[in-house]
Amino acid sequence: MECQECHKRPATLHFTQVINGDKTEVYVCEVCAKEKGYMTYPEEGYSLHHLLSGLFSPPFETQQNTPRKQTKELQCPKCEMTLSKFKQVGKFGCSQCYQTFEEYLDPIFRRVHSGNTAHHGKIPARKGGDLRIKKEVDAYREELQRLIKNEAFEEAATIRDKIKELEKKLGGDEG
């Protein structure tokens, strides 16, 4: 079996991750396991420096024969945090750093948060209004699927109306 991250080396390691109750099987090579943060450090008090350094060897540039372009260092347009500085201090400079360094974040978060990379908690009431509605719509859609499967068409119609109602609110006042 090939490594599901680099698709080059053979997968020598197998991890089972439980994220939000969902079990995911991961088959990776040793190099990717380290780089992508599948290997976690269970001991308490790991140093974030230690954790970040080594992660930053550019992800897919181990390929031979590919001439590497010398690019300007990645830098956050808002706070001017550079990738090397971020790597050194292990802290973000502003909220835009999250987008700037996006491609490097999953492995870091995986290590720090036991395999997790996405938020599943509170959403700001005001700002997240749309997001809350979207989540509600998603929940209703699932409900709808279930009702249709059970041929409960009357209830399904009610749910469909609710979804339409909510979708009207979405982006309604944004113009």
């Binding site: 973000f92 974040l105 938020h119």
Partner: protein
């Protein structure tokens, strides 16, 4: 100032209330890290931006009340003397990190000191809410309401995928750190705590001694908190912490009754020796004081020592720290002078009981 007056000012009003399971769980705390979307995080922000934030918070929230958390005082850190800063740290109202900040860092504290909101710490805002005893769910409910109240005026840095954005990758997502402070003397004596720690760590929770250095717990007081902030909802994190803490409470109760059955004379002897040391010593270091206070508190919980109020441990653990001692003395003290004052303050406090 008399000791009574000093204590009245020194002990947070909420600490005097009794919460559920408060024989073992001293307090429950939830902390949320939040940032303004508009400004860089404190490590990289200009002084001007940080000033804006702190001026905004002062303008909007000073002297305001939220539900039962009345009249917030706004305290700029730079207005405080080093001893006053230390006192706030010892009361856990601000972090040691905030205490070191100067310009434009501040704290907003409710009258009953249950709520404190640090401004321009590692994140723009750090909301903290304390409850006496074992009340994590209650604390979570309240801190959410408090968060919504602040959010009416603050545009938070939030990302659909990553959640609440924070300065440190270890806080991103919920930005939440939930913790309980537990007095576990019987589990500590029987060496059981150390054996349980690895299993607790496996569940994504961290155990550390609260007053001691590193993981060593002075006074057998341990803090259990969540390590992971991303990928799990606040409710789930709190539920996990709660169920572990609940088990610890039960283990501790069992260990206590086992000690009572198997070696009650030795336990009684140890408790009374500690009571004697606290009642009569003239010089006492903080570590010895903490150990003796833990013993006496256990004696009170087990009904071995009567007529001494339970709150003595919580009160004296706070009051006998260096910052408080120096505030009481109204001057800076050498370590030796502190040990003398600590002993006399403890003696006086015990006499207040009789």
């Amino acid at each position: 100032m008399t000791l009574q007056q000093f204590m009245n000012e020194a002990i947070s009003p909420w600490m005097r209330e009794d919460g559920p399971d408060s024989d073992i769980v001293l307090s429950s705390r939830i902390r949320l890290a939040r940032n303004f979307a508009k400004y860089s995080f404190p490590i990289l922000a200009d002084e001007d931006d940080l000033d804006h934030i702190s001026t905004f918070i002062r303008k909007e929230y000073e002297n305001q009340s939220f539900q039962s958390y009345k009249s917030f005082s706004f305290i700029p850190i730079q207005d405080l003397t080093p001893v006053e800063r230390r006192v706030l740290v010892e009361k856990h109202l601000i972090s040691p990190h905030l205490a070191e900040q100067g310009h434009s860092s501040a704290v907003l504290i409710s009258e009953n000191e249950q709520v404190s909101i640090m401004v321009n710490e590692e994140d723009h805002l750090r909301l903290q809410l304390y409850f006496p005893g074992f009340q994590l769910t209650e604390a979570l409910g309240k801190v959410f309401e408090l968060d919504d109240w602040l959010e009416e005026k603050v545009n938070y840095a939030f990302d659909e995928k990553r959640g609440y954005l924070t300065g440190c990758p270890t806080n991103v997502g919920t930005g939440m750190r939930a913790s309980v402070m537990m007095h576990l003397p019987a589990l500590a004596w029987t060496q059981q705590v150390n054996r349980m720690i690895p299993a607790i760590n496996q569940l994504g929770l961290v155990v550390r001694g609260i007053y001691g250095e590193g993981s060593e717990a002075t006074g057998n007081i341990f803090q259990i908190s969540n390590q992971i902030t991303l990928g799990k909802s606040e409710e789930d994190i709190v539920e996990d912490l709660q169920s572990v803490a609940r088990q610890l409470v039960e283990h501790e109760r069992r260990a206590r009754s086992r000690i009572m059955e198997q070696s009650s004379k030795r336990l009684e002897d140890r408790i009374y020796r500690s009571y004697g040391i606290l009642s009569y010593s003239r010089i006492i270091e903080s570590k010895e004081a903490a150990t003796c206070l833990s013993d006496v508190r256990l004696g009170i919980d087990l009904g071995i020592i009567e007529n001494v109020s339970r709150s003595i441990l919580n009160e004296l653990m706070v009051l006998t720290q260096p910052g408080f001692l120096q505030q009481y003395a109204q001057k800076s003290l050498t370590p030796n002078e502190r040990d003398v004052l600590r002993a006399s303050l403890i003696r006086e406090r015990i006499q207040l009981e009789n």
